[in-house]
């Protein structure tokens, strides 16, 4: 810069650059900034480690005697129920979501209104409230009603209703991402609107939305913990309820930590699958 004394206008500097650092090259500035970030990180970790009461943590979170009581039921009952709740809710939510998405794009205005109201209501309500309404309010309002498969039915329907609202919006975006020419080509071959949708448009749309729909599966897996709101027996309890019950019994938090680890056992691999699918789609574009 010194060989250009006539250049009096200061160069536009990146946000946050100190005026005193004008003599540094962008690379030097980047190195300093990164160094500062590392120092902050190390200080924070050191702070947490030094402030924690390690003896108490070992006693209340890593008590092997308590942990022994969790096996094998943590897998054979709790994880099994969590998976059943999640999958039944997901399957229900998927088909309901697909229906709502198609209604949202319908040429008949009442269909669109119903779909929109549905999405707004079930996306706006806390999931736990839907569980309570379904598990407690509905049986009171309709005394004769009995859900199929008891708790399993209630949970599947509650999770289905909530996830359908989210999946409907995702699937709608997928349907709209399929080029118009696909529908036109199918119609020009004599297919009806619904035939063209089923054969040509929906398969392509679903392919587009596989990653976000897998994400929804992860969210639902965690939401299945809300089943505690309707009160379940020990036979139908899932991971969170299971961990909580034993934690209360022994006045120890180890079961909660193990229940959490069991969630991650499923959600982390699913997360990896989502990232793989996304990468594959990005490459195919």
């Amino acid at each position: 810069m010194s060989d250009q004394p006539k250049l009096t206008e200061p160069l536009p500097s990146p946000a946050g650059a100190v005026p005193g650092g004008a003599g540094l090259s962008p690379r030097q500035r980047q190195t300093i900034s990164r160094g500062v970030q590392y120092v902050i990180f190390v200080v924070l970790v050191a702070l947490v480690v030094s402030l924690a009461d390690w003896a108490a943590i070992r006693e209340h979170f890593l008590d092997m005697k308590v942990a022994e009581n969790l096996f094998p039921e943590i897998f054979t009952v709790a994880l099994k129920n969590t998976v059943i709740y999640t999958i039944s809710g997901y399957v229900l939510g998927f088909f309901l979501g697909l229906l709502v998405a198609l209604m949202r794009l319908s040429s008949a205005a009442p269909n669109r209104w119903v779909a929109l109201v549905y999405i707004e209501v079930f996306r706006g309500l806390p999931a736990v409230l839907v569980f309570i309404l379904l598990g407690l309010a509905v049986p009171t309002a309709f005394p004769g009603i009995r859900f199929p498969f008891d708790e399993y039915g209630v949970v599947a329907i509650a999770l289905g209703l909530v996830s359908a609202a989210y999946m409907a919006e995702t699937i709608r975006a997928g349907l709209q991402a399929v080029p118009k020419g696909q529908m036109e080509a199918a119609r020009s071959l004599g297919m009806s609107y619904s035939r063209a949708m089923i054969t040509v448009v929906i398969p392509q749309a679903l392919r587009i939305v596989i990653p976000p729909l897998t994400n929804e599966l992860i969210l639902l897996f965690k939401d299945s913990s809300l089943v505690f709101a309707i009160g379940v027996t020990s036979a139908t309890s899932e991971l969170t309820k299971f961990g909580q019950d034993i934690a209360t019994e022994y006045a120890d938090s180890t079961p909660l930590l193990l229940a959490g680890a069991t969630y991650l056992l499923i959600t982390i691999p699913l997360g990896i699958v989502v990232r793989r699918l996304e990468a594959r789609q990005a490459k195919a574009r």
Partner: protein
């Protein structure tokens, strides 16, 4: 003899924009009619009205004696007899070439699997692509995709074929293969309505050339007349722009 296509006083507006301003026009069985004209003249809209991909604002469209614009007509049934080839091919990307050519036969005409496959392979052979049956559209060149699209339409045994600028999206060196297939089809006696910018093809293959501008038919006659010796000033100026090598940017 009944017309293959009979269009009377056809109007089409998109909002306040009137694209077709009263079209009267017939196609006879076995005829090849090329529609030419500047972009925005309404020629693609006219073609899309023939199988009701666009709903006309007013007027009637009769194909093979069936009035498509009539309220009670089964449009899906009527479209089976009219094949359409698009500028962007519009092959189904999630199906193989063979499945593309079979799917409508199976789902619409309810043909058996063996019969649909036999007819699909016959038509792929007709467009010179029998060896690509197992490929996916994305693995083919634009010209190959367009020929598959032609085979897909032909497999429905249509009595009329509509071509909407079938070579406009192709690299120049791939145009020839598609035109060769279309020329062969014309020689076999297929009734064809072709929107195109390929003047050489129109001159050589068409029985009639229709020049459109501003939503109306300006000139309609044999190619030697419309392209060779145009009477109207608008046709002359369009052809000058298309054919003059210093204006090849059209």
């Amino acid at each position: 003899m009944a017309h293959a296509v009979e269009i009377r006083d056809l109007h089409k507006s998109f909002g306040s924009l009137e694209v077709l301003k009263g079209i009267d026009f017939d196609v006879e069985p076995g005829q090849v009619v090329c529609v030419i004209g500047p972009s925005g003249s309404g020629k693609s809209t006219l073609l899309r009205c023939v199988n009701l991909l666009e709903q006309p604002t007013a007027g009637t469209v009769v194909v093979e004696g069936v009035e498509l614009t009539h309220r009670d007509v089964d449009i899906d049934a009527a479209r089976r007899r009219v094949g359409m080839v698009f500028q962007q091919f519009n092959l189904f990307p999630h199906m193989t070439v063979l499945q593309n050519v079979m799917i409508a036969q199976r789902r619409v005409l309810k043909r058996g699997k063996a019969e649909a496959e036999r007819i699909a392979r016959e038509n792929l052979d007709r467009v010179g692509l029998s060896e690509k049956a197992a490929s996916y559209p994305a693995q083919l060149s634009g010209g190959q995709q367009q020929r598959v699209a032609i085979a897909r339409a032909l497999a429905m045994s249509p009595s009329l074929m509509l071509f909407d600028e079938p070579t406009s999206a192709l690299d120049p060196e791939l145009v020839g293969d598609v035109l060769t297939v279309m020329r062969k089809l014309a020689e076999e006696g297929m009734t064809m309505l072709v929107v195109t910018h390929e003047m050489a093809f129109a001159r050589e293959v068409a029985d009639r050339v229709v020049f459109m501008d501003g939503g109306v038919i300006v000139e309609d006659g044999p190619p030697a007349q419309v392209i060779g010796a145009p009477r109207h000033e608008r046709t002359k100026s369009f052809l000058r722009r298309v054919l003059d090598p210093t204006h090849t940017d059209v």
